[in-house]
Amino acid sequence: MSPALFPRIAAAAVGAFAFAYVVLTVSSPGYAAAAEAGASGGRITGLMLLFGALIVAYALAMRGVGFALSTFLFLWVSMYALHRERAWLSALIAAAAALAISGIFGALLNVDLPTLTRASSRRVGTTQSSR
């Protein structure tokens, strides 16, 4: 059996179902309306885009500054950005949550979380090797 056979069957299925969907949607307004009823709607708000950008920044920062600090910063900034009240309370909750999550997953569940010291030593190593 060719390694391409199964992907081709799957791709043909995607194409066939998509074609059927397009035909039904174009030919029957009732079907289109019923199918659209499954859509969640919601708004792509500036807040949501900001939240998405913060998630990306968080994933990037985790490698550079370690899990605990990046988690604290992400939680603080995103909680405050989503509510815009009492920045000190957001900071308090974020710090407690970052410490608790680091403790539970790092110490209790043995997850090898990225740390600030490891990130710094990697940077030093990279600098030395580039020299």
């Binding site: 059996m1 390694p3 391409a4 199964f6 992907p7 799957a10 791709a11 299925a13 995607v14 179902f17 998509a18 059927a20 969907y21 039904l24 019923a34 199918a35 659209e36 009823a37 499954g38 859509a39 969640s40 709607g41 919601g42 708004r43 792509i44 708000t45 807040l47 949501m48 939240f51 998405g52 998630i55 990306v56 968080y58 994933a59 985790m62 490698r63 899990f67 988690t71 992400f74 939680l75 995103s78 909680m79 989503l82 509510h83 909750i93 949550a97 999550i101 997953f105 569940l109 043995n110 997850v111 090898d112 979380l113 990225p114």
Partner: protein, 496 residues
């Protein structure tokens, strides 16, 4: 038996069940956090555990706990915590408005436990028998079974069956990334070593369920917050228990049978059960206005699918619903391959799963009754605190799989894809099912064709294959009819 008892007496296993139930009840009580999402979020954390059974027990606990927890916001704020609790709103919320929120939560808890125990009993009786027969199945027959498994898509497709089928096929296509099972030929890897092992379904699952939901919830934050009603008395009287007994017994049977049918989840079970309970009730006019029977039927049915859905999962390796699809994935991760051989090769672990399911249901009773008031407070956790925390759990969960940032980016990419699909009404469940069952289908197809030296007719040569294909067709028709009945019941419930 002794090995099962020894495993369950391990404090780590007992603790895992307890923690799982509490986590499940909390997750179920938070609107937006479904049982599927809660189990998916927790799977990666169980990898490094020394005991596979403890890892599976916490997931079972979450599954059972979420089913009850989903009733809490349904009763208090008319928002089902999980899709399976949608029918609970019909009578739970009116009871809450009459000042009987505590009673509604108490009855939800008791009937959930009864339903869970009934279905666990059926699983224990029927499971080994099916597994014994399933040992005689050939690869071609097994391929037919994977097609039957893929028919689950019809049940989790949401409003549009075609959209579900498209997502399922995309999932199967995505599952072909990496080396092919026969010749290890790289496919769609674009020269990347990360993709040689394929797209890991756990990060994709976390992304399309949890990250996508977080983005969705943030986009809905402008709608404002919810108000929680007072709780009141939790325990029902003897008279009230007698009143709900017939509806509960009916829901036990309906929930277990519906749960065992691949593709029919807790939402279908609770709607069908609610409808049938109304038909046999002496006071059908009370349904929709705070009927204890209606509430009992809906809640008992959505919990009695837990044992039912595990029958095809454990015996044939086919998930009964989207949660058991993720439990199936978790079992693979813990080196347990669900299917007939599981019962002979890992009898002790199967026994522990059976016992764990019974214990989990028993533990829900005191926790649910005592925890009704604290759970009511959890419903009102502000979303600006909750969803950033969920994102952190998603990121840690995906990173913990292989200590790899590639999995984190895969999760976030799947999250954005899942959010876009959610906006367009494409359900995420079929995508995950395709990712899980696609490789199994390809492996069985390859083996069957190798044995028959390329004769495609081997796929429908045996009577068993023909029966399985016929059952698949019947299930698709039954699912379509069930969808219609659910829609009718929903309209009826809303109009009353």
């Amino acid at each position: 038996m002794n090995e099962v008892l020894a495993q369950l007496s391990n404090p780590a296993v007992a603790g895992a069940i307890f923690v799982g139930i509490v986590a499940g009840m909390v997750a179920g009580a938070l609107p937006g956090l479904t049982a599927t999402m809660a189990v998916a979020l927790l799977v990666p954390y169980t990898f490094g555990w020394h005991s596979d059974i403890a890892g599976l027990m916490i997931l079972l606990g979450v599954y059972v706990g979420t089913m009850y927890g989903g009733a809490v916001p349904a009763v208090l704020i008319h928002t089902p915590g999980t899709p399976a609790a949608a029918a609970t709103c019909f009578d739970g919320y009116p009871l809450s408005r009459q000042g009987k929120a505590g009673l509604a939560l108490g009855i939800s808890c008791i009937t959930s436990v009864v339903g869970g125990l009934f279905s666990a009993g059926v699983l224990i009786l029927v499971g080994p028998m099916i597994a014994e027969q399933a040992l005689k199945i050939s690869p071609a027959d097994y391929f037919a079974i994977t097609i039957l498994g893929l028919s689950v898509i019809a049940g989790v497709a949401g409003k549009s069956l075609l959209k579900g089928l498209i997502m399922g096929a995309v999932g199967v296509l995505a599952a072909t990334v990496g080396q092919d099972p026969a010749q290890a030929h790289p496919r769609f890897t674009f020269g990347s070593d990360y993709l040689l092992d394929g797209l890991s379904f756990i990060p994709v699952m976390i992304g399309v369920f949890a990250v996508a939901e977080a983005l969705h919830q943030v986009s809905e934050m402008w709608r404002g917050s919810r108000v929680v009603q007072a709780i009141g008395r939790v325990l029902p009287t003897w008279q009230e228990l007698k009143q709900i007994a017939p509806a509960t017994m009916l829901a036990n049977v309906i929930g277990t049978v519906v749960g065992a049918i691949p593709g029919a989840g807790g939402d279908i079970a609770s709607f069908v059960s609610y409808d049938q309970a109304k038909r046999v009730s002496r006071e059908p006019e009370k349904f929709g206005e705070g009927s204890l029977e209606g509430l009992a039927a809906a809640e008992c049915a959505n919990n009695s699918i837990t044992g039912g859905a595990m029958i095809p999962m454990l015996t044939l390796g086919i998930p009964g619903d989207s949660v058991t699809a993720i439990l199936l994935a978790a079992m693979y991760v813990h080196n347990l391959r669900p299917g007939p051989l599981l019962f002979s090769q890992h009898a002790d672990k199967v026994g522990a799963i059976f016992a764990g399911l019974v214990i989990a249901n028993l533990v829900v009773l005191p926790l649910g009754l005592l925890g009704a008031k604290p759970l009511a407070r959890i419903v009102s956790i502000p979303r600006h605190i909750l969803w950033p925390l969920v994102v952190v759990l998603c990121v840690v969960g995906s990173y913990a799989l292989n200590n790899s940032f590639f999995d984190v980016w895969l999760t976030l990419g799947a999250g954005v894809f899942g959010y876009a699909m959610k906006r367009l009404g494409f359900p995420p469940g079929p995508l995950v099912l395709g990712l899980i069952l696609g490789p199994l289908a390809e492996e069985k197809l390859t083996t069957a064709l190798q044995i028959s030296r390329g004769q495609v007719s081997v796929l429908w040569d045996s009577p068993l294959s023909i029966v399985i294909y016929a059952v698949t067709a019947l299930l698709l028709v039954a699912t379509a009819l069930g969808r219609r009945e659910r829609r009718d019941a929903k309209q009826e419930g809303a109009s009353e």
